[in-house]
Each structure stands twice: as C-alpha cells, then as structure tokens.
C-alpha cells in the first residue's frame, strides 16, 4: 500500500466522473454494436431501396441471378477472409482460378473423367496455395503482398500457356449443373426452379469455414496470429504452419470457384478469373472484417460479397452504365475501411473510460 502516496484528491473527484462515464459507456457500447452490424445494414438498405426502385429486383428469377452471380466471389471471399484474418492478403486467387479452370478443362478434354477433372482443378488451386505459403513463410518475406502478386503474374501466364491463349470448351456435366443448375424443389421458380445449385455449394463451404473459425483450435490460432503474431509465437502457437494453412485454403477455394466458373461457361478460360481477387478482397473488407487482421467472420465475407452482387445487379436493372458499378464499389470500400478505423478509435475511447470509471 506504499502506492497510496499523496494523490488524495483523485478519490473525491471520482464519483461524478464515474456517473458521467457510465452514460458515455453505454453510448459507446451501442455505437460499437451498431458498427458491427453496419455492413448488414448497408446490404438491407440496398435491398430495400432497389426493391422500391425496380419491379423485378425482388422477383425469384432476379434473386436467383444475384445469388448465382455472387457465388464465385463468395467462395473466393471465404478463402480471402482466412488470409486477411492473419493480417495477410492473397492477390493470386483470380489467376489461380483461371489456372485451375484451364487445368480442369484440359483434363476433362483429354481424359473424359469428371472426377479427375474436378480433382485436378482443386489440386491445382491447393498447389498454388502451398507455393504461396512456402514462399511467404519459408522465404521469410516481410509481407504476402509480393509473393502473391508474383503468383498472380505467374499463374496467369501459365494458364495462358497451357490453354494456348484460347478458351478450352467443355466441362463435365456435374460441373455444369453446379455452375448453372437450379433447384426445382424449392418453390417459387416454377418447374425449372430459381434457387441456384451454386448457392448450395456456397452455403456448404460457408458452414465448413464457420466450423473452422468458431469450432476448431486451428481457427482460434488463425485469430491469434492475426491479433498479435509476436504473442502467438511466445505462447507456442505454430505460427508458420497457421500462416501457410490459410494460403492453402485460399488456393483450394480458388480451385472450387474455378469449378463454378467452368460450369457457368461450360469451358475453361485462361482469363476467367481476371481481377476476381479484387472482388474477393473488397467483399471481405466491405463485409466488415478488419484489414488489420484478427477480426472478421464468415458472415462478414458473405455480406460483403452480396453487397457487391446486389449493387451490380441493381445498377444494371436501373440501366446505369456499368462503369458506375466500379466507382460505386470503390466508394463502398472506402466507407467500409473508414468504419474500421472509427471502430478502432471508439475502442480506445472505451478503454480510457474503463480506466476512469475504475471498473
């Protein structure tokens, strides 16, 4: 108790401060909660505005289209989410998608086996992820930006090389079903159905990723590595393996997205994934995951991907020039990142309030 030196006046002053701070405390708590729901609100607002502005927006057919169009970005965003959670970035997923699609289409053309083609596409994606992870972690590079940028270039080149600069026509029927099929037993779309099979795939993958992030020790380690890499090392978390694992998953999911893309076009095109990495990254950020790592959920990634898809669809329906879609996406990204910054500020306000109120 030698700590109790002549700082006496601090004690009598405390009660009024504490009273004021509890109101501020509540306000901040609410602001932080609202911030977490922000992206979902943006999505609901978009949907509300578009359903008023356009007659067809909420039709089964159009909703089905939006879901189908968002599927590829959803799958890529789920992989990107894990990477971003570890403070990383995977710029190569678009090129990986192209390469996987080309490999899958070539195997289908030459071997005629659906199983082999699917395995080949998924394996190609995973292999790219392994290479990304090994170069980043074992090469002790300061940031994954460079190795995955290099991979973007290399994988695009390899895809073009393998495909001789041409689209390879044809895809296994099962892949076509996954890419373009509709489920007829969900009511609303008549005999053909409106609910895309691709969305079922997205839901399945989203559940798996949720299991990893919320249920498994591996998922906890992903958050820990993103939250404080140095502390993760000191607490004995296998940081190198965790980092590598997220790039492998991101690659594997790029392979899965390649199957969806192949199915949509009944072909493997060496440019089919071009720029898809930007949508994937944008989706994660727009959805509310923190670019600084350690914060974000599957719901964030999916919400972000849907915001992008709904925005594009809406602008299309309203007959607005496609160029505006990109500008709008850019604006939403800035808003999302700014929200993340504001959240950080609010948190530090919250902390000092906690200290003042002495709880």
């Amino acid at each position: 108790m030698a700590a109790m030196v002549d700082d006496g006046p601090a004690v009598p002053q405390n009660p009024p401060v504490a009273v004021r701070s509890s109101a501020a405390h509540r306000g901040l708590t609410m602001a932080l909660a609202a911030m977490r729901l922000g992206p979902l609100m943006i999505l609901l607002l978009l949907v509300a505005v578009l359903s008023v502005a356009s007659d067809v927006f909420l039709s089964f057919e159009n909703v089905g289209n939006v879901l189908k169009q968002s599927a590829v970005v959803c799958v890529l965003a789920l992989g990107q989410l894990l990477v971003i959670l570890t403070r990383g970035i995977d710029l190569s997923v678009g090129a990986t998608l192209s390469l996987s699609a080309v490999v899958g289409a070539i195997v289908w053309r030459d071997q005629g086996s659906a199983t082999l083609a699917i395995v080949a596409a998924l394996a190609t994606g995973s292999l790219v992820g392994v290479i990304n992870g090994v170069i980043y972690v074992k090469g002790r590079l300061p940031h994954p930006f460079i190795p995955t940028l290099a991979m973007l270039s290399a994988a695009s080149g390899l895809a073009l090389l393998l495909a001789h600069n041409e689209t390879i026509q044809g895809a296994p029927p099962i892949v076509n079903t996954i890419g373009t099929g509709r489920i007829s037993w969900i009511p609303g779309g008549g005999d053909i159905g409106w609910f895309p099979v691709a969305t079922l795939v997205v839901i399945g993958i989203a559940l798996l990723v949720t299991l990893v992030t919320r249920g498994l020790v591996w998922g906890r380690w992903i958050y820990a590595v993103g939250g404080n890499p140095e502390a993760a090392l000191r607490t004995g978390i296998p940081v190198a393996s965790v980092l590598m694992s997220v790039y492998v998953v991101s690659g594997l999911l790029a392979g899965a997205a390649a199957l969806l893309t192949m199915g949509k076009g009944n072909a493997g095109s060496p440019t089919s994934g071009a720029l898809a990495e930007l949508d994937a990254i944008a989706a994660v950020i727009i959805g509310g995951a923190s670019f600084l790592g350690g914060r974000g959920t599957v719901l964030n990634a999916i919400t972000g991907a849907l915001v992008i898809a709904v925005m594009r669809n809406g602008l299309n329906l309203l007959g607005i020039e496609p160029s505006w879609q990109y500008i709008a996406t850019g604006a939403v990204i800035v808003i999302a990142v700014e929200l993340d910054v504001i959240r950080g500020r609010l948190e530090s306000r919250f902390r000092s309030l906690q200290a003042v109120s002495g709880s």
């Binding site: 700590a3 109790m4 820990a224 939250g227 607490t235 004995g236 965790v242 902390r351 200290a355």
Partner: protein, 257 residues
C-alpha cells in the same frame, strides 16, 4: 549465497554477451518458493537479458539455470512454460481481438478428441470460459464483462488478465517485467495484490520494477544489477532505500554478492 536446497530457481554464474556487449557477467541468483524477489537496476543493467535467459528466450553462453534442481539452461520458451515458468512481458503479449478466456488458453486450448491433430480438435469453449471465471474469482480480479474483447479493457484490466494468465499456468515461477509501468494508482494496487496472492500460493516471483514504492510494498528481497553483475542485495525497506538507489546508480562501490 543462499542455501541451494530450498530455492525453486537457481542461476549460477550466468554469462551472456551480444557481440562486444557483455550483458550478463557471472550472475548468480536464487528465488525461493513463496518469495517475491525484486530485480532492480538501471536500463541496460542486464535485467531483461537475465529474465529472457530464465524464460528460455535467450540461451546463456555459460553458466547454469536450475528449476527445482533440474537443469533448464538449454530449455526453449515452450519447454520453460511447460515446466512451470510464466513470464508477463512489458507489452503483456495479449490478443486484443480475443476474449479473456481465449487469451488465457492461447496455445493450450482445451479441445478434443485427442486422437486428432491438435489444430483439428474441437474447442471446449464452455469449459475454458468456466475455468477462466473460476480463476479470476479466485484471484479476485473483477472484469466488467468476460464476453468483451480484451481490446475494450482498461490498462489495469489488461494487466490483470496477463498476470492472471501467468498465475493460472505457472506452477513454480512467475516473472513480471514492469507490471505497473503503464498503470494508474488504483490499477497498480490491484496488480500488487495479485503478486501477494501468488506469494501466498507458494509461487516464486521475480519482479522487475522501477517503482521503489511498489518494490517495498511486495518484495521480500531486492537484488540490484549493474553492468551485467549483481552489485547488491538487501531487504527493501524505507531505511535501505538510499542504499538501493546508490547501488542502482553506482554511487558507492557496493558489496558484491
């Protein structure tokens, strides 16, 4: 030197140099169970190097470190933790994005089934949360909300989480590096209470602090380091204050220990 038999930790003739700089120059030190040893000294005196050697982050060039008589000189950080040495670093090493329970069990999550590789096991969230609550209760650490991320806690609460984590898993020795440096009066008081409770539980504590008030409040013994050597040892009391400060700044020759 103190009798080796009762000491939990024994450091003998520890030497460590970084290129031309001699960080530790034959340091010997004992800490008993239930004893709080204050490690004092100016910046660069070698305190940090010494505790990093004990916690397995650095390896000594020569000398030995014994924990309960067992040679742990070559142990790495993981092994040292597994053997019951916990270190609370100045930066706390907390995961701001995680809740207290997740911070407690980081790297040693309770999960099963055990035949799966560690990373693929399912976390036992409920058990971890319950254990965390029990422990915080036992240590009388009051956190407003165990469901809140650590990022939302005040400096004192964060410090309490870090110290409590060390307490939870240390069976033998807790090393605290400047645990009150960033804290206000009341928050410092709470951390010092935790240190006393550790002592009551029979854990050995090494406390590094620049605050003589805090050292006098909790430490049983103070060892002063200067230029990689121990230059003085005494019971930290108000009467000895001047002597300790003199050892720290090197004003008197001091008596070698």
């Amino acid at each position: 030197m103190t009798a080796p038999s009762s000491a939990v930790l024994q450091v003998r003739e520890a030497c460590k140099r970084f290129d031309a700089v001699v960080a530790l120059d034959g340091v010997s030190l004992d800490v008993d169970a239930g004893e709080v040893l204050a490690l004092l000294g100016d910046n660069g005196a070698g305190k940090s190097t010494l505790i990093k050697a004990i916690s397995g982050v650095h390896h000594l060039d020569s000398g030995t470190i014994l924990l309960d008589g067992m040679d742990i000189t070559a142990a790495n950080a993981m092994t040292a933790r597994a053997l019951g040495i916990e270190t609370v670093y100045q930066d706390l090493a907390l995961f701001d994005n995680l809740k207290p329970a997740a911070n407690f069990f980081a790297g040693r999550e309770l999960a099963g089934p055990t035949w799966l590789p560690r990373g693929l096991r399912f976390m036992q969230r409920r058990t971890m949360a319950d254990r965390t609550r029990e422990l915080l209760d036992r240590l009388q650490v009051n956190l407003p909300d165990l469901d809140a991320e650590v990022a939302l806690m005040s400096g004192g609460q964060r410090q309490a989480v870090a110290v409590a984590r060390a307490v939870a898993f240390s069976s033998k020795l807790v090393i605290l590096d400047e645990p009150t440096a960033a804290l206000g009066l009341r928050e410092s008081g709470r951390v010092l209470d935790l240190v006393r409770r550790l002592k009551d539980d029979g854990v050995a504590v090494i406390l590094i602090s620049h605050s003589m008030d805090h050292v006098m409040a909790v430490a049983d013994r103070a060892v002063v380091m200067r230029r990689g050597r121990t230059v003085g040892e005494t019971v930290p009391t108000a009467e000895n204050h001047a002597q300790i400060v003199a050892w720290i700044v090197g004003a008197t020759g001091g008596r070698a220990v």
